[in-house]
Structure formats: structure tokens, C-alpha cells
């Protein structure tokens, strides 16, 4: 079922960096283009803005204990659903915990889930995709059918089902999201490998008698890295939404540990009395997702000028 329309669809959603038209063209690097790439990336204000926000969010997550004004799990009965004030700029939640501190610490769950689950998806998807694309034959057939089957189950529905069967916890949510995203990387890697393997320089390397594993490592892998990088960045955005969704449903980070999605779940019950409980966590998720999307889009344009629309 891997049709051109499938790939084009994924591309328009920003799920797959493969350029339109099958087979996908590799994002080939010309020699010495790192500086040129950086120049093109810097020229895109939105990409730079995305990168800056991502950087700030990572700093916030790493240095959370030093930045947060309060312990994110400490309750304060004087601040139950407390309106925003000087002492608590973002207000207090249903048991008087400081919302600002919980937002700051919540970045750890969101970014952690985004990075870990995508790392898992890449480390599973890349080798399988390489194998399918390079080995061909029945190995390719088997891996491709498996990928099709996984892709037939919508991403979030698969993640929810996996998280439900694994049991609710942040680690299980990361595993569930990572496994659900793996099929995208298998398919992308496979398409890229097949495109690069058809190039003349690979043909030449083969003619010179290089063993298959060496061709895969030295000639193919470096040429597919840019596309994987773009896809990984955009998938982090999807994974952050997925973690927030799972936590919102109660299948991710468990209370009292802070997570933006879980905070929204509680906030839903206090919309009349404490609307600020709903504003900040949602804004944080939005900002994080937007930042990775902006950066990913910019990265794609900067890595392959041909693809600019």
C-alpha cells in the first residue's frame, strides 16, 4: 500500500521528509556544504526562532531545580486554586501546588518523552529500513508488510493501545510512542536507501568489489542522514503532543509528578474557578511543538534547497 499518495500525504503533514514523486530522491550533500547549510538555516528566521525556543526549553528542563521558585509537588493549602499573584505568577492548582514550578518541571516529561521516544524509533527503524532497502527480496517484503500493518493503525490509537496494555507510566508512554513512530522511520529509511543505492557512485563502489556492509555504512548511511534528521525533528513535535495526549488521558506521567498533559486533565475539572490552570500547560505544549515544527521545516529547507516551495 506504499503509494505515491501515501508519501505525499505524509510529506504534507510534515511526517516524512521524502520529496514528492516516487522513488524519493535522497537529500544529497555536496562536499563542504556544512557552512552553506548553516548559512541557509540562519537565513530562515522561523527556523532560528524554533531553534532558540527549543534551546531555552532544554535549558529550562535541565536547570529546573534552580529556576523553579517552589517544589513542584509541595502542596500549600493557602494557594488552592489561587489566582495568579506576585508570589505565584501562574497561580496555584487544585491542591495548592505552584503552577509555574510545575510548568518548569513539566518540561522534563515533555522533552524527555519527545527525545527518548524518537531515539527509540530511530534506533529500531533505521537498521530495519537499511536492511529492507538494501537487502531487497523477501527480507524487504517481510519488513515492508510489517510496516504497512503498523501504519494501518493510526499513530495515537496505537500508542494508546500500547500504553494501555503496558500499564500507565511515563516510561511506558515513551516506549509506546517510540514503537508507534518506528514504522515511519523504517519506511523513510527504506525509500531513501533505495534511491541512494540507485546512484552511480554506489554502482561504482559495488563494481570495485566493496562488500555490501561497507557500501551501506560508508556510501549509503551518510547520504540518508539529513532526511532522517529532518524526520526526527518533526517526529519529536508529534511525540510531544502524543505524550501530552497520553498524560491527558491518564496514561502517561502519574501524579503528583508534573506533566503538561496531566495538568490539563485536572484543569478541565476547574474551568469555572481556575482557568489559569488550563492556560499555561496548554501554551507550553503548543510552544514546544511549534518550536520543533518550525525548526524541522527550516532544517528541511536548508538541507535541500530543491525542495523549497
Amino acid at each position: 500500500m506504499s503509494t505515491g499518495s501515501e508519501i505525499a500525504r505524509a510529506e504534507a503533514v510534515g511526517l516524512e521528509a521524502a520529496p514528492s514523486g516516487t522513488p524519493a530522491q535522497p537529500l544529497l550533500q555536496e562536499p563542504g556544504t556544512l557552512a552553506a547549510f548553516w548559512r541557509r538555516l540562519r537565513a530562515r528566521k522561523s527556523a532560528v526562532a524554533g531553534l532558540v525556543i527549543v534551546g531555552l526549553l532544554i535549558l529550562m528542563a535541565v536547570f529546573a531545580p534552580w529556576i523553579a521558585p517552589y517544589d513542584p509537588t509541595a502542596t500549600d493549602w493557602g494557594n488552592v486554586r489561587g489566582a495568579p499573584s506576585l508570589a505565584h505568577p501562574f497561580g496555584g492548582d487544585e491542591v495548592g501546588r505552584d503552577v509555574l514550578s510545575r510548568i518548569i518541571f513539566g518540561a522534563r516529561a515533555s522533552l524527555g518523552a519527545g527525545l527518548v521516544s524518537v531515539a527509540l524509533a530511530v534506533s529500531l527503524g533505521l537498521p530495519l529500513g537499511l536492511l529492507a532497502g538494501y537487502a531487497g527480496g523477501w527480507i524487504d517484503g517481510a519488513i515492508s508488510r510489517l510496516t504497512d500493518a503498523l501504519l494501518a493503525i493510526p499513530f495515537l490509537i496505537l500508542a494508546i493501545a500500547l500504553a494501555a496494555f503496558l500499564g500507565p507510566s511515563l516510561v511506558n508512554a515513551m516506549i509506546a510512542i517510540g514503537l508507534s513512530a518506528t514504522s515511519t522511520f523504517i519506511r523513510l529509511t527504506r525509500a531513501q536507501v533505495r534511491a541512494v543505492a540507485a546512484e552511480e557512485f554506489v554502482e561504482a563502489a559495488r563494481a570495485m568489489g566493496n562488500p555490501p556492509w561497507r557500501i551501506a555504512r560508508v556510501h549509503i548511511l551518510p547520504n540518508i542522514v539529513p532526511a532522517i534528521l529532518v524526520q526526527a525533528t518533526l517526529t519529536i513535535a508529534a511525540a510531544i503532543i502524543a505524550e501530552a495526549s497520553l498524560s491527558f488521558l491518564g496514561l502517561g506521567q502519574q501524579p503528583p509528578e508534573p506533566s503538561w498533559g496531566a495538568m490539563l486533565n485536572t484543569a478541565k475539572n476547574f474551568m469555572d474557578e481556575a482557568p489559569w490552570m488550563a492556560i499555561w500547560p496548554g501554551l507550553s505544549i503548543f510552544l514546544a511543538v511549534l518550536a520543533f515544527n518550525l525548526f524541522g521545516d527550516g532544517l528541511r529547507d536548508a538541507l535541500d534547497p530543491r525542495q523549497r516551495t
Binding site: R9, I157, L264
Partner: protein
């Protein structure tokens, strides 16, 4: 065309079988004894023994799969332990609600996404294009459950215009039904609108650069007529087929949207089942989703091939 259909079916059927295997194998992930896990709160050894018997839990995994898959083929998706009802019956009961939501959401998505995509393609590189792209980026980045909460805050809590929840069947009162569905449909359609905008823009840019459009322009056809009469109908085909594939996205989104607005549909059924540890229902919902997605994918492929003979050789 028949050979194309046969080839596509030959791919779709094994895909569905594999997907069903994956979904079935999910229960192997349950910690501890499957029978105990499936019974949930119930600890009565008789009940556990009954479950063990009913789901053939003493048999090896492939045999259990064969029993389950045989049931699925006969339309028997198992029994919801919590609700004491066949899963298939529950799904048939909830599906129309989600279908209504999905259709309304698709309407919203088309009404926002297509004009925006056309505009941004025609005004490529200009302010309208930038704005449309910004709106699309917002649609792709805003978590839809948060958007739902914001809309409830504004239209239900502050203004009191729309109900925050409370589904009414359209057969009881169409106006109340629509009042309850407006916000969920907008929330769900919002993200798809962004995708439709990007599809439309890409398709329109392709068509607008083609020779026959240039010819039409050279003949002095007005820009509006070129856009709407010459370009859009040809760009519509990929938009429609790609739109069909957004179904999976719609169902994923419906899970959260229905949760926020307490819409008693397919997604809510799944989430409730997850929390009741009603795993037969979870599996039933997921297999139905996968089957529908594969069927739509097939339909989209056939539609594209019917319109474009070159694709039939693919």
C-alpha cells in the same frame, strides 16, 4: 484496472491480517497472568476459570489467535467484560456518533483548508501566503484537547453560548445536536484543515505551473476563472484522495476531542475501555480502525488509478 484492483487487494489482505496479529499480540504485554488481568477487579476464581476457558488461554498463542481471528471474521469481536455486552454491538452503537463528528470535522477542514490553500498558491510568496502558512502551522502545533478546553472556556464558561458537553442525538433534536457538535467538530477539523491547506497549496502550485494554464492565461482568460475553472478541478483529485487518508488522523483526534467534550463515541468507548481494563473492547476498536483505514487507503488508490491511468502500472 481489474488487475490493478487484484494486486492492491493482494497487498491489503495480508496487511490487515498482520495488523490483526499485532493487535492480538498486544495482550501478551499485560503484566502477569492474562486471565487475571482480563477480569480486572474481579477476583472470583470461578470467573477467572471461565475467562481462561472462554479465551482458550491454556492453548498456545497461535491457536488463541486462530480462535480470535475466526470470531472477528464472523463479526464476533469478543465480549466486553465490564459492560456485559458483545464488543461488536458496542462499536455499532458508538460508531454513528463518531462518524457524524468526523464528517462535520471534515467539512470544517475543507471549508477552511481548501480556500486557504488556493489563496496561498495564487498569492505565492506574498502576505496572504505567509499568513495561510502561519495558520497551517498553528493548526499542526496546537494540541486539540487544549484548543477544546480554550473554546469551552470562551463559549461555554464566559459567554454561555454553547454547551460544554452533553451529546443529543440528531433524531431527538437536530439543533441541540449541532449546538453540542460545533465545538468538537471545529477542534477536530482544525488540525486537518492545516493538512488540507498544505495539500491544496502543493497541488495548486503544480497545476498553476502547467502548460495548459499558461495557455489559458495567454488566451486572456481572467485570473479568477483560470484559478477556479481550469486549475482547481485538476488539483481536486489529489486533494480528495489525500483527504481520504486523513481518516486515521481524524480517528486519533476524535479520541481526545470526545474525551474533552464528553461525546459518547468510538474514541470515548476506547478510553473508557482502557480504564476499565476492558481489553477485548480496546482490541475491537483498534482492529475496526485498522480495517477502515486499510479500506479507505484502498479506495483512495483505486480512485487515483481510475483518474490517472499511469498509476495503474505502479
Amino acid at each position: 484496472m481489474l488487475r490493478f484492483l487484484a494486486r492492491r487487494l493482494a497487498l491489503a489482505v495480508p496487511t490487515l491480517i498482520l495488523a490483526s496479529m499485532i493487535i492480538f499480540a498486544l495482550q501478551q504485554l499485560l503484566p502477569g497472568d492474562v486471565a487475571t488481568a482480563l477480569t480486572g477487579e474481579e477476583r472470583d476464581p470461578q470467573v477467572i476459570a471461565f475467562i481462561r476457558e472462554k479465551y482458550h488461554l491454556d492453548e498456545p498463542l497461535p491457536v488463541r489467535y486462530a480462535y480470535w481471528a475466526g470470531g472477528v471474521l464472523r463479526g464476533d469481536l469478543g465480549e466486553s467484560i465490564r459492560l456485559q455486552k458483545p464488543v461488536a454491538e458496542l462499536i455499532v452503537e458508538k460508531l454513528p456518533v463518531t462518524l457524524e463528528l468526523a464528517c462535520l470535522a471534515m467539512l470544517v477542514a475543507l471549508a477552511i483548508g481548501v480556500p486557504m490553500g488556493v489563496l496561498s498558491a495564487v498569492k505565492r510568496g506574498q502576505a496572504a501566503d505567509t499568513i495561510a502558512n502561519g495558520v497551517a502551522l498553528w493548526g499542526l502545533s496546537v494540541p486539540n484537547f487544549w484548543l477544546g478546553i480554550l473554546l469551552i472556556l470562551l463559549f461555554s464558561v464566559e459567554l454561555g453560548w454553547l454547551p460544554a458537553s452533553g451529546y443529543v442525538s440528531p433524531f431527538e433534536s437536530l439543533s441541540e445536536n449541532l449546538a453540542a457538535m460545533v465545538m468538537p467538530a471545529f477542534v477536530l477539523g482544525n488540525a486537518i484543515a492545516a493538512v488540507m491547506m498544505r495539500h491544496t497549496r502543493a497541488a495548486m502550485l503544480g497545476v498553476l505551473g502547467s502548460d495548459y494554464v499558461r495557455t489559458a492565461r495567454a488566451k486572456g482568460v481572467s485570473p479568477l476563472r483560470v484559478t477556479l475553472r481550469h486549475a482547481l478541478p485538476n488539483a481536486a483529485i489529489p486533494i480528495i484522495t489525500l483527504g481520504a487518508l486523513e481518516f486515521g488522523q481524524l480517528l486519533s483526534g476524535a479520541v481526545l476531542t470526545e474525551q474533552v467534550f464528553s461525546v459518547p463515541g468510538f474514541g470515548k468507548l476506547m478510553v473508557d475501555a482502557v480504564f476499565n481494563r476492558d481489553f477485548a473492547t480496546v482490541q475491537g476498536v483498534v482492529i475496526c480502525t485498522a480495517a477502515t483505514y486499510i479500506a479507505l487507503n484502498l479506495a483512495a488508490d483505486l480512485l487515483s488509478a481510475a483518474v490517472n491511468p499511469k498509476l495503474r502500472r505502479a
